[in-house]
Protein backbone atom coordinates (compact mmCIF):
# COMPACT_ATOMS: atom_id res chain seq x y z
CA UNK A 1 0.00 0.00 0.00
CA UNK A 2 0.92 3.61 -0.48
CA UNK A 3 -0.21 5.57 2.51
CA UNK A 4 0.07 9.37 2.60
CA UNK A 5 -1.17 11.62 5.37
CA UNK A 6 0.40 15.06 5.41
CA UNK A 7 -0.40 18.59 6.49
CA UNK A 8 1.39 21.84 5.92
CA UNK A 9 0.59 25.51 5.71
CA UNK A 10 2.23 28.09 3.51
CA UNK A 11 0.90 31.60 3.69
CA UNK A 12 -2.80 31.48 2.82
CA UNK A 13 -2.61 27.98 1.43
CA UNK A 14 -3.07 24.98 3.63
CA UNK A 15 -2.75 21.36 2.60
CA UNK A 16 -4.19 18.56 4.68
CA UNK A 17 -4.33 15.48 2.53
CA UNK A 18 -4.76 11.82 3.33
CA UNK A 19 -5.05 8.99 0.86
CA UNK A 20 -4.28 5.33 0.55
CA UNK A 21 -3.95 3.31 -2.65
CA UNK A 22 -2.73 -0.12 -3.60
CA UNK A 23 0.79 -0.20 -4.99
CA UNK A 24 -0.18 -1.81 -8.25
CA UNK A 25 -1.33 0.60 -10.91
CA UNK A 26 -1.36 4.26 -11.75
CA UNK A 27 -2.88 6.66 -9.26
CA UNK A 28 -4.00 9.93 -10.79
CA UNK A 29 -3.80 12.95 -8.51
CA UNK A 30 -6.45 15.09 -10.06
CA UNK A 31 -7.60 18.62 -9.35
CA UNK A 32 -7.68 22.18 -10.57
CA UNK A 33 -4.52 24.27 -10.87
CA UNK A 34 -3.44 25.51 -7.47
CA UNK A 35 -5.24 22.82 -5.45
CA UNK A 36 -1.96 21.53 -4.02
CA UNK A 37 -1.11 18.64 -6.35
CA UNK A 38 2.50 19.65 -6.90
CA UNK A 39 2.96 20.44 -3.20
CA UNK A 40 1.69 16.96 -2.40
CA UNK A 41 4.13 15.19 -4.74
CA UNK A 42 6.97 17.38 -3.44
CA UNK A 43 6.09 16.18 0.05
CA UNK A 44 6.13 12.56 -1.10
CA UNK A 45 9.49 13.01 -2.82
CA UNK A 46 10.88 14.72 0.27
CA UNK A 47 11.76 17.96 -1.52
CA UNK A 48 9.31 19.61 0.87
CA UNK A 49 8.75 18.71 4.50
CA UNK A 50 5.31 18.82 6.04
CA UNK A 51 4.57 20.20 9.47
CA UNK A 52 2.84 16.97 10.35
CA UNK A 53 2.47 13.72 8.56
CA UNK A 54 3.35 10.19 7.73
CA UNK A 55 4.23 8.53 4.44
CA UNK A 56 4.57 4.77 4.01
CA UNK A 57 5.32 2.92 0.80
CA UNK A 58 5.18 -0.85 0.73
CA UNK A 59 5.69 -1.15 4.47
CA UNK A 60 8.63 1.26 4.72
CA UNK A 61 8.13 4.56 6.48
CA UNK A 62 9.67 7.44 4.51
CA UNK A 63 8.41 10.08 6.86
CA UNK A 64 6.86 10.14 10.29
CA UNK A 65 6.89 13.48 12.04
CA UNK A 66 5.59 11.85 15.24
CA UNK A 67 8.80 9.82 15.62
CA UNK A 68 10.99 12.41 13.92
CA UNK A 69 11.86 10.10 11.04
CA UNK A 70 12.42 11.74 7.67
CA UNK A 71 14.37 10.06 4.91
CA UNK A 72 16.32 12.50 2.70
CA UNK A 73 14.99 12.69 -0.89
CA UNK A 74 18.20 11.12 -2.21
CA UNK A 75 17.54 8.06 -0.05
CA UNK A 76 13.79 7.67 -0.67
CA UNK A 77 14.06 5.88 -4.01
CA UNK A 78 11.11 7.88 -5.27
CA UNK A 79 11.49 8.84 -8.92
CA UNK A 80 10.28 12.23 -10.07
CA UNK A 81 9.37 13.35 -13.60
CA UNK A 82 9.08 17.12 -13.54
CA UNK A 83 6.70 19.23 -15.57
CA UNK A 84 9.67 21.12 -17.03
CA UNK A 85 11.82 17.94 -17.44
CA UNK A 86 14.81 19.50 -15.60
CA UNK A 87 17.41 17.75 -17.71
CA UNK A 88 20.98 18.65 -16.80
CA UNK A 89 22.05 21.09 -19.54
CA UNK A 90 25.78 20.35 -19.26
CA UNK A 91 25.33 16.61 -19.82
CA UNK A 92 24.38 14.66 -22.93
CA UNK A 93 21.15 12.67 -23.06
CA UNK A 94 23.10 9.46 -22.35
CA UNK A 95 24.79 11.08 -19.33
CA UNK A 96 21.45 12.39 -18.11
CA UNK A 97 19.96 8.90 -18.38
CA UNK A 98 22.90 7.34 -16.53
CA UNK A 99 22.90 9.94 -13.72
CA UNK A 100 20.59 8.06 -11.39
CA UNK A 101 21.68 4.64 -12.61
CA UNK A 102 25.29 5.29 -11.56
CA UNK A 103 24.08 6.07 -8.05
CA UNK A 104 21.96 2.93 -7.56
CA UNK A 105 24.76 0.94 -5.86
CA UNK A 106 23.91 -2.66 -5.23
CA UNK A 107 20.12 -2.45 -5.20
CA UNK A 108 18.35 -4.82 -7.62
CA UNK A 109 17.45 -3.25 -10.95
CA UNK A 110 13.89 -3.11 -12.25
CA UNK A 111 15.00 -1.93 -15.68
CA UNK A 112 18.29 -1.65 -17.57
CA UNK A 113 19.73 1.15 -19.68
CA UNK A 114 19.17 -0.61 -23.00
CA UNK A 115 15.56 -1.42 -22.08
CA UNK A 116 14.82 2.20 -21.28
CA UNK A 117 16.39 3.38 -24.54
CA UNK A 118 14.32 0.86 -26.47
CA UNK A 119 11.09 1.37 -24.54
CA UNK A 120 11.17 5.16 -24.90
CA UNK A 121 12.73 5.23 -28.39
CA UNK A 122 15.73 7.25 -27.20
CA UNK A 123 18.41 5.70 -29.41
CA UNK A 124 18.59 8.64 -31.87
CA UNK A 125 18.88 11.12 -29.00
CA UNK A 126 21.60 9.71 -26.74
CA UNK A 127 24.46 11.84 -28.07
CA UNK A 128 22.52 15.07 -28.12
CA UNK A 129 22.33 17.82 -25.54
CA UNK A 130 19.03 18.67 -23.81
CA UNK A 131 18.69 22.11 -25.42
CA UNK A 132 18.46 20.58 -28.88
CA UNK A 133 15.49 18.34 -27.94
CA UNK A 134 11.80 19.00 -28.52
CA UNK A 135 9.50 19.26 -25.50
CA UNK A 136 8.21 15.73 -25.99
CA UNK A 137 11.71 14.31 -26.34
CA UNK A 138 12.78 16.08 -23.16
CA UNK A 139 9.95 14.52 -21.21
CA UNK A 140 10.84 11.07 -22.52
CA UNK A 141 14.46 11.55 -21.44
CA UNK A 142 13.29 12.82 -18.04
CA UNK A 143 11.09 9.74 -17.73
CA UNK A 144 13.95 7.41 -18.69
CA UNK A 145 16.32 9.12 -16.28
CA UNK A 146 13.86 8.70 -13.40
CA UNK A 147 13.23 5.02 -14.26
CA UNK A 148 16.94 4.20 -14.40
CA UNK A 149 17.38 5.38 -10.82
CA UNK A 150 15.41 2.17 -10.07
CA UNK A 151 12.69 3.80 -7.97
CA UNK A 152 10.03 1.98 -5.95
CA UNK A 153 7.51 4.70 -6.81
CA UNK A 154 7.41 7.12 -9.73
CA UNK A 155 5.93 10.59 -9.39
CA UNK A 156 4.90 12.33 -12.60
CA UNK A 157 4.01 15.99 -12.14
CA UNK A 158 1.94 17.01 -15.15
CA UNK A 159 4.57 15.76 -17.59
CA UNK A 160 2.39 16.76 -20.54
CA UNK A 161 1.20 20.16 -19.31
CA UNK A 162 3.89 22.16 -21.08
CA UNK A 163 3.39 20.34 -24.38
CA UNK A 164 0.94 21.15 -27.17
CA UNK A 165 -1.60 18.52 -28.18
CA UNK A 166 0.51 17.03 -30.98
CA UNK A 167 3.58 16.73 -28.73
CA UNK A 168 1.50 14.99 -26.06
CA UNK A 169 1.10 12.09 -28.44
CA UNK A 170 4.92 11.87 -28.47
CA UNK A 171 4.79 10.95 -24.79
CA UNK A 172 1.39 9.47 -23.85
CA UNK A 173 1.76 6.16 -25.73
CA UNK A 174 5.08 5.61 -23.93
CA UNK A 175 3.42 6.19 -20.58
CA UNK A 176 0.72 3.68 -21.53
CA UNK A 177 3.38 1.16 -22.53
CA UNK A 178 5.20 1.77 -19.26
CA UNK A 179 2.08 1.07 -17.20
CA UNK A 180 1.81 -2.37 -18.80
CA UNK A 181 5.48 -3.20 -18.97
CA UNK A 182 6.64 -2.35 -15.45
CA UNK A 183 5.02 -3.28 -12.18
CA UNK A 184 6.04 0.13 -10.89
CA UNK A 185 3.58 2.14 -8.81
CA UNK A 186 3.03 5.58 -10.30
CA UNK A 187 1.40 8.75 -9.05
CA UNK A 188 0.37 10.83 -12.01
CA UNK A 189 -0.53 14.47 -11.39
CA UNK A 190 -2.90 16.02 -13.88
CA UNK A 191 -5.62 18.56 -14.35
CA UNK A 192 -6.59 17.08 -17.73
CA UNK A 193 -9.19 14.36 -17.34
CA UNK A 194 -8.55 12.80 -20.76
CA UNK A 195 -5.00 11.93 -19.64
CA UNK A 196 -6.40 10.40 -16.47
CA UNK A 197 -8.78 8.29 -18.55
CA UNK A 198 -5.96 6.89 -20.61
CA UNK A 199 -3.58 6.07 -17.78
CA UNK A 200 -5.11 5.86 -14.35
CA UNK A 201 -6.44 2.86 -12.49
CA UNK A 202 -7.05 4.84 -9.31
CA UNK A 203 -8.03 8.41 -8.70
CA UNK A 204 -7.42 10.83 -5.85
CA UNK A 205 -9.34 14.07 -6.26
CA UNK A 206 -7.83 17.11 -4.59
CA UNK A 207 -9.72 20.34 -3.96
CA UNK A 208 -8.21 23.33 -2.11
CA UNK A 209 -5.62 21.17 -0.38
CA UNK A 210 -8.08 18.46 0.74
CA UNK A 211 -8.76 15.01 -0.68
CA UNK A 212 -12.45 15.05 -1.63
CA UNK A 213 -12.68 11.65 -3.31
CA UNK A 214 -10.48 8.60 -3.74
CA UNK A 215 -10.78 5.05 -5.01
CA UNK A 216 -10.81 3.13 -8.25
CA UNK A 217 -11.40 5.30 -11.32
CA UNK A 218 -14.69 3.47 -11.93
CA UNK A 219 -15.98 4.34 -8.46
CA UNK A 220 -14.71 7.91 -8.33
CA UNK A 221 -16.11 8.64 -11.80
CA UNK A 222 -19.58 8.48 -10.15
CA UNK A 223 -18.62 10.87 -7.36
CA UNK A 224 -20.28 14.31 -7.33
CA UNK A 225 -17.00 15.79 -6.05
CA UNK A 226 -15.43 14.95 -9.41
CA UNK A 227 -18.35 16.50 -11.29
CA UNK A 228 -17.77 19.71 -9.37
CA UNK A 229 -14.27 19.90 -10.84
CA UNK A 230 -14.65 18.62 -14.40
CA UNK A 231 -18.04 20.36 -14.82
CA UNK A 232 -21.40 18.81 -15.76
CA UNK A 233 -20.53 18.60 -19.45
CA UNK A 234 -17.57 16.27 -18.85
CA UNK A 235 -19.04 14.26 -15.97
CA UNK A 236 -19.85 10.65 -16.55
CA UNK A 237 -19.25 7.06 -15.56
CA UNK A 238 -16.08 5.25 -16.58
CA UNK A 239 -16.70 1.56 -17.15
CA UNK A 240 -14.26 -1.27 -17.62
CA UNK A 241 -15.61 -3.48 -20.37
CA UNK A 242 -14.60 -6.58 -22.26
CA UNK A 243 -14.84 -6.84 -26.04
CA UNK A 244 -17.27 -9.57 -27.13
CA UNK A 245 -17.28 -9.19 -30.85
CA UNK A 246 -16.56 -6.60 -33.49
CA UNK A 247 -18.58 -6.22 -36.65
CA UNK A 248 -16.63 -4.81 -39.56
CA UNK A 249 -19.81 -4.32 -41.62
CA UNK A 250 -21.48 -1.97 -39.12
CA UNK A 251 -18.29 -0.65 -37.54
CA UNK A 252 -19.80 -1.39 -34.16
CA UNK A 253 -18.21 -3.45 -31.42
CA UNK A 254 -20.19 -5.24 -28.74
CA UNK A 255 -18.70 -5.11 -25.27
CA UNK A 256 -19.74 -6.57 -21.92
CA UNK A 257 -20.30 -4.21 -19.01
CA UNK A 258 -21.17 -5.37 -15.52
CA UNK A 259 -22.40 -8.94 -15.22
CA UNK A 260 -24.79 -9.09 -18.11
CA UNK A 261 -24.99 -5.72 -19.85
CA UNK A 262 -23.98 -5.27 -23.43
CA UNK A 263 -23.05 -2.03 -25.15
CA UNK A 264 -22.36 -1.28 -28.78
CA UNK A 265 -19.54 1.14 -29.47
CA UNK A 266 -18.09 2.73 -32.52
CA UNK A 267 -14.66 1.23 -31.93
CA UNK A 268 -13.38 -0.88 -34.78
CA UNK A 269 -10.32 -3.12 -34.62
CA UNK A 270 -10.65 -4.17 -31.01
CA UNK A 271 -9.79 -7.87 -30.66
CA UNK A 272 -12.34 -10.09 -28.94
CA UNK A 273 -11.61 -10.62 -25.27
CA UNK A 274 -9.53 -7.45 -24.93
CA UNK A 275 -10.16 -4.90 -22.22
CA UNK A 276 -11.65 -1.58 -23.11
CA UNK A 277 -12.51 1.48 -21.07
CA UNK A 278 -15.81 3.22 -21.87
CA UNK A 279 -16.86 6.67 -20.76
CA UNK A 280 -20.60 7.33 -20.59
CA UNK A 281 -21.18 11.07 -20.25
CA UNK A 282 -24.01 11.79 -17.83
CA UNK A 283 -25.71 14.29 -20.10
CA UNK A 284 -25.75 11.84 -23.02
CA UNK A 285 -27.84 9.22 -21.19
CA UNK A 286 -31.56 9.18 -21.95
CA UNK A 287 -33.97 7.53 -19.52
CA UNK A 288 -37.20 5.83 -20.45
CA UNK A 289 -39.92 4.19 -18.36
CA UNK A 290 -40.50 1.50 -21.00
CA UNK A 291 -38.51 -0.49 -23.54
CA UNK A 292 -37.84 1.80 -26.50
CA UNK A 293 -39.14 1.03 -29.98
CA UNK A 294 -38.36 2.69 -33.26
CA UNK A 295 -35.41 4.73 -32.07
CA UNK A 296 -31.97 5.11 -33.65
CA UNK A 297 -30.32 4.55 -30.28
CA UNK A 298 -28.20 1.38 -30.40
CA UNK A 299 -28.02 0.78 -26.69
CA UNK A 300 -30.96 0.30 -24.38
CA UNK A 301 -30.19 -1.35 -21.05
CA UNK A 302 -32.59 -2.02 -18.23
CA UNK A 303 -31.43 -1.01 -14.77
CA UNK A 304 -32.42 0.09 -11.31
CA UNK A 305 -32.27 3.57 -9.91
CA UNK A 306 -29.91 3.73 -6.93
CA UNK A 307 -30.35 7.37 -6.02
CA UNK A 308 -31.65 10.68 -7.32
CA UNK A 309 -29.95 13.86 -6.14
CA UNK A 310 -30.77 17.42 -7.07
CA UNK A 311 -27.81 18.91 -8.86
CA UNK A 312 -27.78 22.55 -9.85
CA UNK A 313 -31.07 24.35 -10.40
CA UNK A 314 -32.98 22.04 -12.67
CA UNK A 315 -30.97 18.88 -13.21
CA UNK A 316 -30.91 15.75 -11.10
CA UNK A 317 -28.06 13.28 -10.82
CA UNK A 318 -29.55 9.89 -11.25
CA UNK A 319 -27.35 6.95 -10.30
CA UNK A 320 -28.37 3.77 -12.09
CA UNK A 321 -27.20 0.21 -11.59
CA UNK A 322 -27.01 -1.86 -14.78
CA UNK A 323 -26.50 -5.28 -13.21
CA UNK A 324 -23.15 -4.51 -11.68
CA UNK A 325 -22.11 -1.54 -13.82
CA UNK A 326 -23.09 1.86 -12.52
CA UNK A 327 -23.69 4.95 -14.60
CA UNK A 328 -24.88 8.47 -13.91
CA UNK A 329 -27.51 10.32 -15.90
CA UNK A 330 -28.23 14.02 -15.69
CA UNK A 331 -31.97 14.56 -16.24
CA UNK A 332 -34.27 17.49 -15.49
CA UNK A 333 -36.54 17.59 -12.45
CA UNK A 334 -39.37 17.79 -14.88
CA UNK A 335 -38.39 14.45 -16.41
CA UNK A 336 -38.00 12.89 -12.96
CA UNK A 337 -41.55 13.76 -12.02
CA UNK A 338 -43.04 13.00 -15.45
CA UNK A 339 -41.51 9.50 -15.51
CA UNK A 340 -42.15 9.07 -11.78
CA UNK A 341 -38.52 8.08 -11.24
CA UNK A 342 -37.68 6.98 -7.70
CA UNK A 343 -34.86 5.08 -6.02
CA UNK A 344 -35.31 1.34 -6.43
CA UNK A 345 -37.48 1.80 -9.48
CA UNK A 346 -36.80 0.20 -12.83
CA UNK A 347 -35.68 2.32 -15.77
CA UNK A 348 -34.39 1.90 -19.31
CA UNK A 349 -31.18 3.72 -20.14
CA UNK A 350 -30.55 4.77 -23.70
CA UNK A 351 -27.02 5.49 -24.92
CA UNK A 352 -26.15 6.40 -28.49
CA UNK A 353 -23.22 4.39 -29.83
CA UNK A 354 -21.71 7.57 -31.28
CA UNK A 355 -21.69 9.35 -27.94
CA UNK A 356 -19.80 6.61 -26.08
CA UNK A 357 -16.09 7.27 -25.82
CA UNK A 358 -13.78 4.31 -25.55
CA UNK A 359 -10.16 3.26 -25.77
CA UNK A 360 -8.25 0.07 -25.26
CA UNK A 361 -7.14 -0.31 -21.65
CA UNK A 362 -5.33 -3.60 -21.19
CA UNK A 363 -4.82 -4.76 -17.64
CA UNK A 364 -1.25 -5.17 -16.49
Amino acid sequence: MIHVDVAMRRGDFSLDARFETPEAGVVALFGRSGCGKTTLVNLISGLLRPERGRIDIGGETLLDTASGRSLAPERRRVGYVFQDARLFPHLTVAENLAFGLRRVRGRPHIIEYDDVVALLALAPLVDRRPHSLSGGERQRVGLGRALLAQPRLLLLDEPLASLDVARREEVLPYLEALRLRLALPMIYVSHAFDEVLRLATHLVVLEAGRVVAQGSLTDVSLDPALTAIVGPAAAGAVLDAQVLEGDAATGLTRVRVGRSGELRLRAPNLPSGSQVRVQVLARDVILSDRAPVGLSVRNALRGHIVSIDPHGDEACRTLIDLDGARIVAHVTRDAVSALQLRPGGEVWTLMKAVSLRSHAFPHA
Binding site: G46, R76, P89
Partner: protein
Protein backbone atom coordinates in the same frame (compact mmCIF):
# COMPACT_ATOMS: atom_id res chain seq x y z
CA UNK B 1 60.76 46.22 -30.58
CA UNK B 2 63.11 44.18 -28.42
CA UNK B 3 62.48 43.65 -24.77
CA UNK B 4 65.29 43.75 -22.24
CA UNK B 5 65.98 40.87 -19.89
CA UNK B 6 64.62 42.94 -17.00
CA UNK B 7 61.35 43.50 -18.86
CA UNK B 8 61.00 39.81 -19.70
CA UNK B 9 61.65 39.14 -16.02
CA UNK B 10 58.90 41.56 -15.00
CA UNK B 11 56.51 39.89 -17.46
CA UNK B 12 57.33 36.42 -16.18
CA UNK B 13 57.03 37.59 -12.59
CA UNK B 14 53.68 39.24 -13.25
CA UNK B 15 52.32 36.03 -14.71
CA UNK B 16 53.64 34.02 -11.80
CA UNK B 17 52.17 36.39 -9.23
CA UNK B 18 48.79 36.60 -10.96
CA UNK B 19 48.58 32.83 -11.48
CA UNK B 20 49.36 32.09 -7.85
CA UNK B 21 46.98 34.76 -6.70
CA UNK B 22 44.11 33.32 -8.78
CA UNK B 23 44.82 29.68 -7.97
CA UNK B 24 44.93 30.28 -4.23
CA UNK B 25 41.88 32.50 -4.05
CA UNK B 26 39.59 30.48 -6.39
CA UNK B 27 38.46 27.78 -3.92
CA UNK B 28 38.16 30.32 -1.17
CA UNK B 29 36.18 32.74 -3.35
CA UNK B 30 33.87 29.90 -4.42
CA UNK B 31 33.26 29.00 -0.80
CA UNK B 32 32.57 32.62 0.19
CA UNK B 33 30.22 33.04 -2.79
CA UNK B 34 28.40 29.89 -1.66
CA UNK B 35 28.03 31.27 1.88
CA UNK B 36 26.75 34.60 0.56
CA UNK B 37 24.18 33.03 -1.78
CA UNK B 38 23.08 29.88 0.02
CA UNK B 39 24.11 30.54 3.60
CA UNK B 40 21.42 31.24 6.19
CA UNK B 41 23.35 32.63 9.14
CA UNK B 42 23.57 35.81 11.15
CA UNK B 43 26.31 38.07 9.96
CA UNK B 44 25.89 37.27 6.29
CA UNK B 45 25.57 40.97 5.50
CA UNK B 46 28.65 41.78 7.57
CA UNK B 47 30.58 39.12 5.64
CA UNK B 48 29.28 40.58 2.38
CA UNK B 49 30.50 44.05 3.36
CA UNK B 50 33.85 42.73 4.57
CA UNK B 51 34.47 40.85 1.31
CA UNK B 52 33.76 44.00 -0.68
CA UNK B 53 36.03 46.20 1.44
CA UNK B 54 39.07 46.00 -0.91
CA UNK B 55 36.85 47.44 -3.66
CA UNK B 56 36.33 50.70 -1.79
CA UNK B 57 39.63 50.99 0.11
CA UNK B 58 42.65 52.64 -1.53
CA UNK B 59 45.07 49.80 -2.46
CA UNK B 60 47.81 51.55 -0.51
CA UNK B 61 45.74 51.13 2.64
CA UNK B 62 45.43 47.41 1.90
CA UNK B 63 49.16 47.15 1.38
CA UNK B 64 49.72 48.93 4.67
CA UNK B 65 47.28 46.67 6.55
CA UNK B 66 48.97 43.62 5.06
CA UNK B 67 52.30 44.94 6.21
CA UNK B 68 50.94 45.44 9.73
CA UNK B 69 49.42 41.91 9.83
CA UNK B 70 51.89 39.89 7.76
CA UNK B 71 55.14 41.79 8.37
CA UNK B 72 57.88 39.91 10.21
CA UNK B 73 56.71 41.46 13.48
CA UNK B 74 52.99 41.39 12.63
CA UNK B 75 50.72 38.95 14.53
CA UNK B 76 50.25 36.60 11.55
CA UNK B 77 53.60 37.23 9.88
CA UNK B 78 55.64 36.38 12.98
CA UNK B 79 53.65 33.16 13.51
CA UNK B 80 54.09 32.11 9.86
CA UNK B 81 57.82 32.78 10.03
CA UNK B 82 58.27 31.17 13.43
CA UNK B 83 56.24 28.03 12.63
CA UNK B 84 56.89 27.44 8.94
CA UNK B 85 59.72 29.79 7.99
CA UNK B 86 57.40 31.54 5.57
CA UNK B 87 58.05 35.20 4.92
CA UNK B 88 55.52 37.22 2.93
CA UNK B 89 56.62 40.83 3.24
CA UNK B 90 59.03 41.82 0.43
CA UNK B 91 58.68 38.45 -1.36
CA UNK B 92 57.00 37.17 -4.53
CA UNK B 93 54.56 35.17 -2.45
CA UNK B 94 53.65 38.38 -0.64
CA UNK B 95 53.00 40.08 -3.99
CA UNK B 96 50.60 37.25 -4.83
CA UNK B 97 48.85 37.72 -1.47
CA UNK B 98 48.48 41.46 -2.04
CA UNK B 99 47.01 41.04 -5.53
CA UNK B 100 44.75 38.23 -4.27
CA UNK B 101 43.27 40.45 -1.57
CA UNK B 102 42.66 43.33 -3.99
CA UNK B 103 41.10 41.17 -6.71
CA UNK B 104 39.12 38.94 -4.30
CA UNK B 105 35.84 40.91 -4.40
CA UNK B 106 35.86 40.90 -8.20
CA UNK B 107 36.20 37.15 -8.20
CA UNK B 108 33.53 36.62 -5.56
CA UNK B 109 31.08 38.85 -7.43
CA UNK B 110 31.44 36.93 -10.69
CA UNK B 111 31.15 33.52 -9.00
CA UNK B 112 28.23 34.68 -6.91
CA UNK B 113 26.30 35.84 -9.98
CA UNK B 114 26.82 32.48 -11.66
CA UNK B 115 25.73 30.62 -8.53
CA UNK B 116 22.59 32.73 -8.27
CA UNK B 117 21.81 31.81 -11.88
CA UNK B 118 21.97 28.05 -11.18
CA UNK B 119 18.46 26.58 -11.28
CA UNK B 120 17.80 25.03 -7.85
CA UNK B 121 15.30 22.78 -9.61
CA UNK B 122 18.19 20.93 -11.25
CA UNK B 123 19.72 20.26 -7.85
CA UNK B 124 16.35 18.99 -6.64
CA UNK B 125 16.21 16.70 -9.67
CA UNK B 126 19.67 15.38 -8.78
CA UNK B 127 18.45 14.75 -5.22
CA UNK B 128 15.56 12.61 -6.42
CA UNK B 129 18.12 10.67 -8.49
CA UNK B 130 20.10 9.76 -5.40
CA UNK B 131 22.80 12.45 -5.28
CA UNK B 132 23.87 13.63 -1.81
CA UNK B 133 24.98 17.21 -1.00
CA UNK B 134 28.65 17.00 -2.07
CA UNK B 135 27.77 14.85 -5.08
CA UNK B 136 25.20 17.45 -6.20
CA UNK B 137 27.67 20.28 -5.81
CA UNK B 138 30.39 18.55 -7.82
CA UNK B 139 28.20 17.03 -10.53
CA UNK B 140 25.58 19.76 -11.04
CA UNK B 141 26.20 23.08 -9.31
CA UNK B 142 29.92 23.47 -9.97
CA UNK B 143 29.80 22.62 -13.71
CA UNK B 144 26.91 25.04 -14.16
CA UNK B 145 28.90 27.75 -12.35
CA UNK B 146 31.98 27.24 -14.50
CA UNK B 147 31.34 30.16 -16.89
CA UNK B 148 31.12 32.50 -13.90
CA UNK B 149 34.14 30.96 -12.21
CA UNK B 150 36.09 31.41 -15.44
CA UNK B 151 34.94 35.03 -15.76
CA UNK B 152 35.93 35.64 -12.15
CA UNK B 153 39.32 34.03 -12.64
CA UNK B 154 40.05 36.07 -15.78
CA UNK B 155 38.97 39.33 -14.17
CA UNK B 156 41.01 38.58 -11.06
CA UNK B 157 44.01 37.55 -13.18
CA UNK B 158 43.86 40.83 -15.11
CA UNK B 159 43.46 42.83 -11.92
CA UNK B 160 46.40 40.97 -10.39
CA UNK B 161 48.62 41.71 -13.39
CA UNK B 162 47.81 45.39 -13.03
CA UNK B 163 47.83 45.82 -9.24
CA UNK B 164 50.24 48.54 -8.16
CA UNK B 165 49.44 50.24 -4.88
CA UNK B 166 48.99 47.22 -2.63
CA UNK B 167 52.00 45.46 -4.11
CA UNK B 168 54.48 48.31 -3.82
CA UNK B 169 53.34 49.09 -0.28
CA UNK B 170 53.46 45.51 1.02
CA UNK B 171 56.39 43.97 -0.85
CA UNK B 172 58.21 47.01 -2.27
CA UNK B 173 59.76 47.20 -5.73
CA UNK B 174 62.52 44.58 -5.84
CA UNK B 175 63.74 43.62 -9.33
CA UNK B 176 63.24 39.93 -10.04
CA UNK B 177 61.37 39.48 -6.77
CA UNK B 178 58.41 41.84 -6.62
CA UNK B 179 58.83 44.15 -9.60
CA UNK B 180 55.79 43.25 -11.70
CA UNK B 181 54.85 45.00 -14.97
CA UNK B 182 53.13 48.06 -13.47
CA UNK B 183 56.02 48.50 -11.04
CA UNK B 184 58.51 48.15 -13.89
CA UNK B 185 56.54 50.75 -15.85
CA UNK B 186 56.57 53.08 -12.86
CA UNK B 187 60.30 52.57 -12.44
CA UNK B 188 60.92 53.28 -16.14
CA UNK B 189 58.93 56.50 -15.97
CA UNK B 190 60.91 57.58 -12.93
CA UNK B 191 64.30 56.88 -14.56
CA UNK B 192 65.90 59.47 -16.88
CA UNK B 193 65.76 58.26 -20.51
CA UNK B 194 63.26 55.53 -19.64
CA UNK B 195 60.60 56.73 -22.10
CA UNK B 196 61.24 53.98 -24.65
CA UNK B 197 61.16 51.29 -21.96
CA UNK B 198 57.95 52.75 -20.53
CA UNK B 199 56.33 52.70 -23.98
CA UNK B 200 57.38 49.08 -24.52
CA UNK B 201 55.97 47.97 -21.19
CA UNK B 202 52.75 49.88 -21.76
CA UNK B 203 52.37 48.29 -25.18
CA UNK B 204 53.03 44.88 -23.66
CA UNK B 205 50.37 45.48 -21.03
CA UNK B 206 47.88 46.51 -23.70
CA UNK B 207 48.59 43.39 -25.77
CA UNK B 208 48.22 41.21 -22.67
CA UNK B 209 44.93 42.82 -21.81
CA UNK B 210 43.50 42.29 -25.29
CA UNK B 211 44.66 38.68 -25.43
CA UNK B 212 43.17 37.98 -22.03
CA UNK B 213 39.81 39.44 -23.00
CA UNK B 214 39.74 37.56 -26.31
CA UNK B 215 40.62 34.24 -24.68
CA UNK B 216 38.05 34.62 -21.92
CA UNK B 217 35.33 35.62 -24.40
CA UNK B 218 36.13 32.59 -26.56
CA UNK B 219 36.07 30.25 -23.58
CA UNK B 220 32.84 31.75 -22.28
CA UNK B 221 31.17 31.25 -25.66
CA UNK B 222 32.28 27.66 -25.82
CA UNK B 223 30.88 27.02 -22.36
CA UNK B 224 27.59 28.75 -23.09
CA UNK B 225 27.23 26.67 -26.23
CA UNK B 226 27.91 23.50 -24.28
CA UNK B 227 25.20 24.51 -21.81
CA UNK B 228 22.82 25.40 -24.61
CA UNK B 229 22.56 29.01 -23.55
CA UNK B 230 23.74 30.48 -26.85
Amino acid sequence: MAFTAAEIDALRLSFGVAARSVLFSLPFATWIAWLLVRGRFRGRFALDAFVHLPLVLPPVVIGYLLLVLFGRRGPIGSWLYGSFGIQLAFTTAGAALATAVVSFPLMVRAIRLSLEAVDRGLEDAARTLGAGPMDRFLSITLPLMLPGILAGAVTAFAASLGEFGAVITFVSNIPGETRTLPLALYTAIQSPGGDAAAARIAALSLALGFTGLAVSEWLARRMRRALGQA
